[in-house]
């Protein structure tokens, strides 16, 4: 066996670096899902009546819906009655100083900027530890600009009129099975509101981390940018190592009014399960952005190395004329990971444009599918789309699949689709070796090169983080 294929095979054997469990007391709801549990969650959060009604309506819709099975993933059926739908640390901290040191230690291990570091980095962090936001920084500074950046629970209490106006307008309660489940039981998440004409002066960042065993995490995030506003938002996710599978069914809604811009970046390294496919996160997420206004722009960038099963299609609905949607993605599947991911670009306005760049890397027994829809509706005069889907195979046991759906209903549209599949060649690795670069570094160099078009769309400091994450993922690949 050549050095390269040896290396690539060993990529699958790396351990999970963020796999530690934080030992703090949890207050959980008993397993199971019924109206009582939803009332319990709503009451815990001191929600107004309309919010509870909204949840219950979602629950009723969910009960009528079949679980989708069209994605190219296989997993044991989920017993939705065996999951606990609420977990929160018992003590509610008022400020960072009151945060359980063990929690901070957890963040520390993950390298999340919490104390002084976020000031240097200019990052405001809304850290979601399981279901309750433990600390929100920079809120005051942002408030000076009229920006609201807080947990969803807090937004429901403090800014009910805004939440009520926009919640569910992009992803309705009954949108799909997992979105309906989320709407019924969502625990927390982030709420961002950028008022008219305001450019958010810093990157906004949330780190999600699932901790308690047997709990699902159901964040609900809503970002609204009013006319001419702009914001860049980053979420990072990690989960500890556990034998059982954990469910994560989040919903993210973005709304951009006239001339507004929203950039949403995700770095996700949830526990992918071990090399035999035991454990790991089920990541069934609905993310959708609405370019409601003319000349608005929504850009999704995701770097995903985690989760055992992923089902996720961050999408853009381009309703405003001249609006722009972008999707940049790097997804790595190794061990027994399965990912069915891609995007949807729905062109409705005139002269709308969209760009899709998807880079998939499969190693070990990883299975990856790109599934993308480009739809040009009859009124979308002059719409343009460019899609590029590249797959890199790093073992002979992995798989890469591409399912592009193109639906053009207007003859003036221009739609381009390019796709490639490649392997790291022995020649490339030998070339690097001959210049003094060892095989492990060579693989990481080549993979990073493959992902470059996506990394360059990430905010600077996170581009470095994403690159590091990829390196760590491929670390110990040389025996």
């Amino acid at each position: 066996m050549s050095a390269t294929s040896k290396t690539l095979e060993e990529v699958t054997t790396r351990g999970y670096e963020a796999g530690f469990i934080t030992d703090i007391e949890q207050e959980s709801a008993p397993p199971g899902l019924n109206e009582e549990i939803i009332r319990f969650i709503s009451a815990k959060k001191e929600e107004p009546e309309w919010m509870l009604e909204w949840r219950l309506e979602a629950y009723r819709q969910w009960q009528q819906m079949p679980e989708p099975d069209w994605a190219k993933v296989n997993f044991e059926p989920i017993d939705f009655q065996a999951i606990s739908y609420y977990a929160a640390p018992k003590e509610r901290p008022e400020s960072l100083d009151e945060v359980d040191p063990k929690l901070l230690e957890t963040y520390e291990k993950l390298g999340i900027p919490m104390h002084e570091r976020e000031m240097l980095a200019g990052v405001a962090v809304d850290a979601v530890f399981d279901s309750v936001s433990v600390a929100t920084t920079y809120k005051d500074k942002l408030a000076e600009h009229g920006i609201v950046f807080c947990s969803m629970s807090e937004a429901i209490r403090e800014h009910p009129e805004l939440v009520r106006k926009y919640l569910g307008t992009v992803v309705p309660q009954g949108d799909n099975f997992f979105a309906a489940l989320n709407s019924a039981v969502f625990s927390d998440g982030s709420f961002v509101f950028i008022p008219k004409g305001v450019k958010c002066p810093m990157e906004l960042s949330t780190y999600f981390r699932m901790n308690a065993g047997h709990t699902g995490q159901f964040e609900r995030t809503l970002i609204v940018a009013e006319e001419g506003a702009s914001v860049s938002y980053l979420e990072g996710c990690t989960a500890p190592m556990r034998d059982e599978n954990q469910l994560h069914a989040a919903v993210v809604e973005l709304v951009a009014l006239d001339d507004a811009q929203i950039k949403y970046s995700t770095v996700q390294n949830w526990y992918p399960g071990d090399e035999n496919g035991k454990g790991g996160i089920y990541n069934f997420v609905t993310k959708r952005g609405l370019c409601a206004g003319d000349r608005s722009k929504i850009s999704w960038t995701q770097v995903e190395t985690g989760s055992s099963v992923t089902w996720k299609y961050p999408s853009c609905v381009l309703r405003g004329d001249d609006s722009v949607g972008e999707f940049y993605s790097v997804a790595v599947t190794r061990h027994r990971q399965q990912a069915d991911t891609g995007t949807k670009m729905i062109h409705m306005g005139r002269n709308t444009r969209s760009t899709i760049v998807s880079k998939g890397i499969s190693a070990g027994h990883g299975q990856q599918s790109y599934r993308g829809l480009v739809r040009i509706t009859p009124k979308a005069q002059g719409a343009r789309n460019y899609s590029q889907c590249d797959s890199m195979l790093m073992s002979s046991t992995c798989g890469a699949h591409t399912f592009p759906y193109i639906d053009v209903q207007n003859p003036t549209a221009q739609v381009e689709h390019e796709a490639t599949t490649s392997k790291i060649s022995d020649d490339q690795v030998f070339y690097c070796n001959q210049r003094g670069i060892d095989t492990e570094d060579a693989v990481s160099l080549i993979v990073n090169g493959f992902c470059k078009e996506v990394f360059r769309t990430l905010p600077m400091e996170f581009a470095v983080e994403a690159q590091k994450l990829l390196e760590v993922t491929l670390e110990d690949s040389v025996g």
């Binding site: 210049r435 003094g436 670069i437 990073n448 090169g449």
Partner: protein, 251 residues
Amino acid sequence: MALLEIRNLHASVDGTEILKGIDLDIEPGKVHAIMGPNGSGKSTLSKVLAGDERYEVTAGEIRYRGRNLLELAPEERAREGIFLGFQYPVEIPGVSNTYFLKAALNAIRKYRGQEELDAMEFLQLIRERAKTVKLDESLLQRPVNEGFSGGEKKRNEVFQLAVLEPMLAILDETDSGLDIDALRTVADGVNAMRDDERGFLVITHYQRLLEHIVPDTVHVLVNGRIVQTGGKELAEELERSGYALFDDEAA
């Protein structure tokens, strides 16, 4: 001490013997040329020296500066100062030439216990070396060899040679695909690096390159064996008579 000593080297690829007993010494500061027809084993020799695992050494030994070269991994050989200018340099999409070369140079420096160069020092070095081989500066930021013309790829190899400053440089048909001006530039780049220490093994089909890089010794490789060794005039002789002369010996 010889820089490189090759004794009775046999090597095969996929079970077919290509090198059938090579003996060759390169002293410090000397330029050796290897000429021979297609399929004679020239490239195999270069790959074996660089440590490509797809070539199996079945007998013989190679000593480099007194050490057993065959014990070293390809990257260790590179860090010990062996450079191979590839006949067909590969493309590495998305990795800039500059980034690649910095990773290479710093890996080599680290191995030798030297400090890594900082960004400024490195940039200064590569700009200067790019000039000596007349490499267009725009190629520094382009991905390694991607979209380079044949000539640019070869020039890029010599540029890397100039930056990495090896002890032993093996140039595998660096002249193929070069027009006469590019050939002269590449030769100038190589000549500028000649000194009392550094050794060169120049592999070529044609005598043309050797008019510009004048060798101390010329070997003729036919069918996996060195059939004749002589001075630079041997190259001129071959140009006139071709390799037909050696067909009997090769058989």
